[in-house]
Symmetry: C2
Subunit: 431 residues, 2 copies
């Protein structure tokens, strides 16, 4: 596959740091960098890992061809350009499996390689994970609130055109049933879906003509948009045109709670008892929850989903945790300034469950780790071994993992009110 290089999706300073380290003789020092969240977005109870599969793809496409080297000509010196020409990540990466949940301090990604290798991945790894985790975390709250009712991802128009494709993917990991984004449907095994826009109704001389054209072409199983003018009139027209076998109607404005009840009653009166009601219109997890008792059959979610429902970035950081010292052994390191103190040393992580299978704690330790005790499971899986991607998996595996991981969290995890992380992060002593 001839993918465009991802090597310039990174920050200027990573290249100049490489240059300085090459000149100073430290570029070959073995290092461990880790990705983690210092805190969750305000009020959130858990985070969701997403983007891992995309990151592995991006890593394989990270190479400096003539084009990239030409662009860096004014950024770094010739010695650095020569190193970049042969640059290849030969290190190893472990991470929380995609779809897994996390809390502050969870070491979501552990990157081991030379400084020259690992420092260049900072921006790309964070871009992918910060975006995709933010969307997945919002999506997970929405699908939890929706229960058995399907959520459809419809946010492409409210975010960058390529971010939209990644957002559809992250939402699917977190339980969304489908997406409106056609590129996401091409690139990933995600079903695509759609209804009709007000423009389609407005294009026609009247609503009946619009509905008739849609049904003639797409069948009675289609979803008709019934709020361009008067909802009651539109529902009557819809059933008259499509018959009682009409697939669904969509409501996109007004008081959805009241309207859903009115429309359900009307559909039932008209004999369209199996016609579903799909609602859209600036829904977020709170609006979805508020409609739980309404006769709604599905939620189309846009803006809130793709913007992380108030938390558009996951706030993950990529920090050096250890590096080789003069004696060749790894030394734990951490920034130690005013308000950003790190935990030095390479981490391991396990999740501990109680006797009923409900999770009770996130265990994070420094050092080589230990075997899991009963009720504990290891969280870091191998993603890249000596430069080779070994952690690729079908997207549905991540989706199933998320459903399982969320179900194992304590009950308060899926409460929508503002709260604390649902699991304490327990740091174990170095062993």
């Amino acid at each position: 596959m001839n993918r465009p290089s991802t090597a310039l999706l990174t920050d200027h300073y990573e290249l100049t740091m490489l240059q300085a380290a090459l000149r100073g003789g430290t570029a070959g020092r073995r290092c461990v960098f880790e990705v983690f969240a210092r805190r969750l977005p305000p009020g959130r109870r858990y985070g969701v890992v997403a983007g891992t599969g995309r990151l592995l793809d991006a890593l394989e496409a990270f190479a400096f061809t003539d084009d990239e080297l030409a662009a860096l000509d004014a950024v770094v010196d010739d010695a650095t350009l020569a190193v970049l020409r042969d640059w290849r990540f030969t290190g190893s990466i472990w991470g929380y499996a995609e779809g897994e949940c996390y809390v502050p301090g969870s070491p979501l990604l552990v990157v081991e390689g030379t400084f020259a290798e690992a420092v260049l991945l900072e921006t790309l790894a964070l871009s992918v994970l910060n975006h995709d985790c933010a969307v997945a975390a919002a999506a997970s709250r929405m699908t939890a609130a929706a229960g058995a009712r399907p959520c459809i991802e419809m946010g492409s128009r409210r975010t960058h055109e390529q971010a939209a494709v990644a957002a559809a993917r992250a939402a699917y990991v977190a339980g969304f049933a489908s997406t409106s984004n056609l590129e996401a449907g091409r690139r990933y095994p995600i079903p695509t879906a759609g209804t009709a826009a007000h423009a389609f109704t407005l294009l026609h001389d009247d609503e009946e003509a619009a509905f008739a054209a849609q049904v003639a072409s797409l069948g009675a199983g289609t979803t008709l948009l019934v709020d361009t003018y008067d909802v009651e009139v539109a529902v009557r027209t819809a059933v008259r045109v499509a018959g009682p076998g009409l697939g669904a109607v969509r409501l996109d404005s007004g008081d959805l709670l009241v309207q859903a009840h009115q429309v359900r009653r009307l559909l039932d009166e008209l004999g369209a008892t199996a016609t579903r009601i799909l609602v859209t219109s600036d829904l977020d997890e709170h609006a979805i929850a508020a409609l739980a008792a309404a006769p709604v059959d599905g939620y189309g979610v846009g803006t809130s989903l793709v913007t992380g429902s108030g938390a558009p970035t996951a706030g993950l950081v990529y920090k050096m945790a250890a590096r080789e010292g003069a004696d060749g052994r790894l030394v734990g390191v951490a920034k130690n300034s005013a308000d950003k103190v790190g935990v030095a040393g390479r981490k391991w992580a396990m999740r501990r469950s109680g006797p009923d299978g409900t999770d009770v704690a996130e265990l994070v330790g420094v050092g080589p780790g230990r075997a899991p005790a009963p009720g504990e499971r290891e969280l870091l899986v191998e993603l890249v071994r000596a430069g080779e991607v070994v952690g690729r998996e079908p997207l549905d595996d991540a989706r199933e993992r998320h459903a399982k991981a969320r179900a194992a969290l304590p009950d308060q995890a899926t409460q929508l009110s503002r709260g604390e992380p649902c699991l304490p992060t327990v740091y174990e002593e170095h062993r």
Copy 2:
């Protein structure tokens, strides 16, 4: 240039609406779609147009090749696939020039073409504009708050990896001086810049060794990061290593206001009177404004910028304003439901200034428009004429236009407190 097709960066329903319109005989009706904001994000006083150049590029790459058609095989019928194979936008587009300011109701983009042409552009146009305008609006508030001090865009790691490149571009339009994003530096004429990360200091056996390596490789004009351990110690070390010609120091944590004063005094004491102070650490426009009286020489801005500083999407919509009727004449149309009422008919727009050159109103009218009176200027420029892009311009033109447009707004426009749109939108009667 062999760009990948952008045709699937769109929503499923646009394709099925096309199918239904083809079958119903309405796909060839001439239509006018418009992009506008119903409202600005809460408290904002103006919006900023950005992304126009990117949208024109994306439009030229909008084509259905065999790959796209294969992906749509299960979405639409064969008759629609045949139409898509030959699909080409042959209509015309007008828009507010890139960098221009806007308020609610401003017709930012006016797309005229057949339904088949114009309906397919909805998602792509909105994705580009909603993202780029959101970033530019935040950036404009930041550069206004920073005054003559440069702002550096450093947010790539907090947003999707391709959105990051677009964000750097939008920030530049709105007055940012440079970006850390190397791909943005390759793709656009934007200077790239960078300092060093804490990891670089931690890589070394001590801070002095790190600073010495950086200065040896990058020269004394480099920017040294001085908050990995103790700021005062680091500043003394920095000047000892680099000499009083040290370019700059960066502060990334703690109370930046207090520290900036302390560091300035110390630098001056050490004779490094020309060494600049660059601050970073979750800055937004309010933090920048709060540092106005501090001895700070530049701002590095990340998260807040790329996430639109609380408004990660501009909330622009793409609505049908007029379409051909049975008699071949354009008829104004608009949705007329519960809480989303549109203004029917194709719009024109002008900005009116008072005698001192300060803008006083946004004039929006329906119909063919009229000649501008003294103190009025037309806002819509031609971007695409009969399918050919005619509105491409150098990025610096957009940047200069923004500086000028913002300067002409009433004084309260750049107040950071929550307020109303700085210009009233005055709808003129149809002429």
